[in-house]
Symmetry: C2
Subunit: 344 residues, 2 copies
């Protein structure tokens, strides 16, 4: 089942803020509705943000009332700007918008041709993500042994992508090959994507999963209760992986205890012209930390620091699984990745 679908001006997806207690299908018909869904994390996960932004542009052309190509291009540029202002860290969102906007710059296109092209390109972005995830799964599964226990963080599953997942794609592919693996999932505070989404996905597939709090991950690594860590990425830059807050801690401890630490992400997540210092780490509202749903759980009025992502220097990363294969530590330099930029 696909996480996001396009059908003649209607984008259908699931409200991930309500899962798993409620399975509410979102019917998104306008750019503004898509912007709201992205901002409030009803859709989330780097690859899914790419497809969602692309569909945001598709909705823009579908609903457009302008009558000439220049006006449509302006409308698309403005929509792109609005979409880019939703969430600053995952690069796939920017990548998808830029890809579509570049595509339509070609001369001699009529208004209708541009509309058609935007919608087709959005579909293509979504379809390519499915293929990429399947390929990531295939390459990643080769790293997984029968009987492995794999630690994952946040949700890099079907729900974070268009289908199948990146880190969970690797786990799924290994499972489909008959490898008897088990997963330990961190709950992933503050928004509990691990407890809510990863556990939900794995249980549906019948893959054994155990839930821990984020603070317990160090213990399970130290005690060798897991053999590998596999997580996704929101942006892969020259000197580091940027992913859900908590990833960095897992990487440092895995490295300290000689546990392989893998990133699984499609090329749409790569942004190797940039360094981590150039990237905005999104800070989200305090209520995500102080409240559970609407219930206050902290001492009232406390100041909060709530960064949504962290930065994992390459020296802690064993390999990057992507759709064309796996880059191991020894390949990083060739790949344009600098493992020596992290000065203590």
């Amino acid at each position: 089942m696909r996480t996001i679908e396009w059908n003649k001006g209607l984008v259908t997806t699931i409200d991930q803020t309500k899962l798993p207690q409620e399975e509410i299908i979102l019917k998104i018909k306008t750019l503004n509705e898509m912007v709201e869904a992205i901002k409030n994390m009803r859709v989330r996960g780097a690859p899914l943000l790419g497809a969602s932004a692309a569909y945001g542009l598709a909705l823009t052309v579908f609903n457009s009332r302008v009558s000439n190509r220049e006006a449509l291009i302006e409308e698309l540029k403005s929509a792109g700007k609005t979409l880019k202002a939703t969430r600053p860290t995952a690069v796939n969102l920017f990548w998808a918008i830029d890809r579509i906007l570049e595509k339509i710059q070609e001369a001699n296109k009529t208004l209708e041709e541009i509309k058609e092209q935007v919608i087709q390109e959005a579909q293509k972005i979504a379809d390519e993500d499915v293929k990429a995830n399947r390929a990531i799964g295939k390459h990643g599964a080769e790293l997984i042994n029968d009987g492995d226990v794999i630690l994952t963080h946040c949700n890099a599953g079907a729900l974070a992508t268009v289908e199948y997942g990146t880190a969970l794609g690797v786990i799924r592919a290994a499972w489909e090959q008959g490898k008897k693996i088990k997963v330990i999932a961190t709950e992933t505070r503050p928004l509990l994507q691990g407890a809510r989404l990863t556990v939900y996905e794995l249980k549906r597939d019948g893959i054994p999963v155990k839930l821990i709090t984020d603070s317990m991950a160090g213990f399970v690594i130290q005690k060798k209760m897991i053999n590998k860590v596999v997580v996704g990425a929101d942006r892969i830059v020259k000197d580091a992986i940027i992913n859900k807050i908590g990833t960095f801690s897992l990487a440092v401890i895995a490295n300290e205890y000689n546990v392989p630490f893998y990133i699984a992400a499609p090329k749409s997540t790569f942004d190797l012209s940039k360094k981590s210092q150039d990237i905005t780490i999104e800070e989200r509202k305090p209520e995500e930390v102080t409240h559970f749903r609407s219930q206050l759980v902290a001492a009232s009025g406390v100041e909060v620091f709530n960064p949504a992502f962290d930065i994992t220097p390459y020296k802690y990363v064993s390999g990057i699984i992507y759709e064309d294969g796996v880059f191991f530590k020894k390949d990083f330099e060739t790949f344009g990745i600098n493992t020596f930029t992290d000065k203590k």
Copy 2:
């Protein structure tokens, strides 16, 4: 204000499971009520568990109806056994019980003398803890500079002790000396002792505090947003510190980024005849992770691993602040602490 008080057969304390939203005073009159309060963490924190167990024995003698000293001693031994079965990890609980039971073994005591002695010894244990915390604060404050930002985990405050606190005692003492410090507190999943109790205590004292999730601690260490880590301990053994789950991860990352990592704990927490492998790490019920209060927040029916403590080898620890001073890394061997037992 003292966290726990004895007054003629009545132990008064605050229900820490309800803080900070509700300030409910518990009036504990029997051993069984004390056992329930300990098991359900209405009272918690290693030094406070010591005092609570001691008062559990005081309640036993206060309510005893036996008429000879041998029967009273049997009753106390049985009460000690019941109290020891509540929570397995923090040593202070065992230490307090053994201290009282040893005391009454002396010959030639009458029934009334034994009763009097148990109550006096319980009071002494509580009073000594207050003095120890003040001394820990004094020694620890010398390590804190004006302007420091200190990361702490869980609650090692007044609420974890009889008064003043261990890690928060250090912070309080530095603050009372006029040092303009700030604190970053981890929320401490699953039971949120950081978000609920540490923030509550620091706000009452007017000490600036910012709340983060446990997974954000790595980020704030990496970014040098803090200068020091100060936490408490539940048991200090020959090869490691045992403390609230999540402590180990903080220590590994602090060590990796050259941030001093201090433990603050009284001698009643020391158990240097034992090694970490001899200690039972308490595993608590799954609902602590899957539910917030009574609300299910994870995918239903998921298996959970919920260890309440973890093990931090000494190689990650910069120093132990206790009532007689500070042991730094260089002193560990003299002190009977083995820094080289953690084999990767």
